[in-house]
């Protein structure tokens, strides 16, 4: 059985630089896959290649087992939700949502009920006759969603659809998309640089850097078992230190080759000398109050550490403390 979407060794170059470097990707029916990475990593380019806005220089793209990389976007069974929404300003909400159906030759009689139903699904039923200029950004994005979903394409593509919205709307829309995915069960490829968005929405996340997929897995796998330093530091907060450069470092088991130690702030806590398996001596540099929580910043031989505590720590700057963690929580990556 073929995957809904299959990319094989897809390459895209712009001038001398390689934007997408021979990536392989398979997305299954009903799966919500996010392409996550910093700007310039190739995630948006990949999305455009899937949607047909651009051609790959090498490799193949298949949708439901059929090669599509030689088809222009209007012949592919994908629909994109854009960052700006891209609603047609001269058409009403209903006409916008009906557009894709009209282009596919759906009979007139069927269009209206489908449009209405989809608008109710995204909770924009009351805006049927309005124009995009009369609505807020969040409302426009919901209509854009409806316009894309009503067509029932094989794959829904999302190009950072929330980047232009403020925080409140972003969170609202996020749960909206999640709810819709659970109800409707569409197959989606979602692009974002916001890792909390990726974690909240995805079945799987493909972390990208410099045109390659660095790791692909469920949100839990990506967060708890990152395969390399880039993923560790990009997804979630982290502290790190080079073992050999630390003088006051106690480890229950010392690695043989030079390694860099990575820890999450949630792994760290204040300890006394004897009680912990691993600890390092550090000097407190700052204590931030983050509302209900205190973040302690410390410095150990040039490496910056921080951890959170719900109680006000009885410390001040320049106090020397011991910060400890469990061996299970430590992650080592070789020093390059």
């Amino acid at each position: 059985m073929s995957s809904t979407l299959q990319l094989r060794r897809v390459v895209k170059r712009y001038g001398d630089s390689v934007a997408v470097d021979a990536i392989d990707l398979a997305v299954e029916q009903g799966e919500f896959l996010t392409l996550l990475g910093p700007s310039g990593c190739g995630k948006t380019t990949t999305l455009r290649l899937i949607g047909g806005m651009d051609w790959p220089d090498a490799g193949t793209i298949e949708i439901n087992g059929v090669r599509v990389d030689n088809l222009p976007s209007h012949k592919r069974d994908t629909v994109t939700v854009f960052q700006s929404g891209a609603l047609f300003p001269h058409l009403t909400v209903a006409e916008n949502v009906a557009y894709g159906l009209k282009m596919r030759g759906v009979p007139r009689a069927d269009i209206s009920p489908r449009v209405k139903r989809m608008l109710d699904v995204v909770r924009m039923g009351a805006f049927v006759g309005r124009y995009p200029a009369e609505m807020s950004g969040g409302q426009r994005q919901r209509v854009a969603l409806a316009r894309a979903m009503v067509v029932e394409p094989s794959i829904l593509l999302f190009d950072e659809p929330m980047s232009a919205l403020d925080l409140k709307m972003r969170i609202e829309l996020r749960s909206e998309i999640r709810r819709l995915h659970e109800e409707v069960g569409f197959t989606a490829v979602f692009v974002t640089h916001d890792q909390s968005e990726a974690m909240a929405l995805s079945d799987r996340i493909a972390v990208m850097n410099k045109g390659k997929i660095v790791q692909i897995g469920t949100p839990i796998e990506i967060f708890e078992r990152p395969s390399n330093e880039f993923v560790y530091t990009f997804v979630g907060e982290s502290c790190s230190m080079n073992i050999d450069e630390q003088s006051e470092l106690h480890l229950s088991q010392r690695p043989t080759s030079p390694q860099r130690l990575y820890l999450r702030p949630s792994h760290l806590r204040l300890v006394n000398g004897s009680g912990a398996e691993n600890f390092v001596a550090a000097r407190v540099t700052d204590i931030e109050y983050l509302g209900g929580m205190y973040r302690v910043h410390a410095e150990a031989n040039g490496c910056r550490l921080f951890f959170d505590s719900t109680e006000a720590p009885e410390l001040g700057p320049n106090h020397v403390v011991k910060i400890g963690w469990n061996s299970d929580d430590a992650t080592y990556f070789p020093v390059s």
């Binding site: 949607g51 047909g52 806005m53 222009p72 976007s73 209007h74 994908t78 629909v79 994109t80 854009f82 700006s84 891209a86 047609f88 300003p89 001269h90 058409l91 009403t92 557009y99 894709g100 282009m103 596919r104 124009y131 200029a133 316009r147 894309a148 067509v151």
Partner: protein, 296 residues
Amino acid sequence: MTDIATVAHVGRGPRTVSLRWLLLAPAIMFIAIVFGLPLMYLVRMSFNLHPPDGTYVEAWTLKNYITVLTNPLQLATIGMTVYISLVTAAITVTGSFIFAHFVWGQKGKLRTVLLAIALGPMLVSEISVIIGWRMFFPSNGLLSYSLIWTGLADEKINLLATQTAAVVGLSYISMPYCFFTILSVLNGIDRNLLTASGDLGASPVRTFFRVLLPLTKGALASAFTQAFVFTMGIYATTNALGPDSLWTMGYEIQRQMLSRRDWPLASAIAVVLVVIITLAALMAQWLRHRKGRGHA
């Protein structure tokens, strides 16, 4: 110039306001004296009578207007002027739209060069345009020569004194205005809209008619009106490049004024010309507002 002081204090004290009027006064007075007064004088002149051996005699008569609106020659002149202006406007707008659409998609150096080219005709005097085309169209001109030289024609072709030549020249002059009007609207259109349309299944042709054209309708109408109004007022190009049978209102005004010295009639024709232009502009405005909402 107490602008700074008043901005800091009250911003709208009597001194600022009168200062503003003081700054505007020269320009307003100039327009009133050099534009307003002569126009009023023109309208007044159109009601005078023309004696056989002079220019005018003071009177209040509608004779001139009756002539303009009933005399077959005058009516034909009006008709031809309107006709040639409509044709020119249609051709210019269509061509400018295609060119502007192309330039819209270009970037960098090429775009700058194309913009400079589009600006060109505006920087050149109408007379230079006329002279240039008058060396191109006649039987011993460049066109005829190139056609024969490339073998596309057997004998000399004379396109001077044809309607085609006139329209070519008139389009040339109007093109920059239409081009920049259309381009400025195109620049304001989110290209993602075209991408989205394709993404939803519309072929490029359908995208053009369903998305691009509706969004540029206003600009096209505006450009058409501009070209029409502009061409209505031109007579030199039409006269120099077009056939002798292509009589324009401008030419007639000039003829009545300078050769026949019939100032009242010339004035009446001028007034009618301005009225037609105003009506055209107003109609365009009215159509625009009727269109309703919904564009960018």
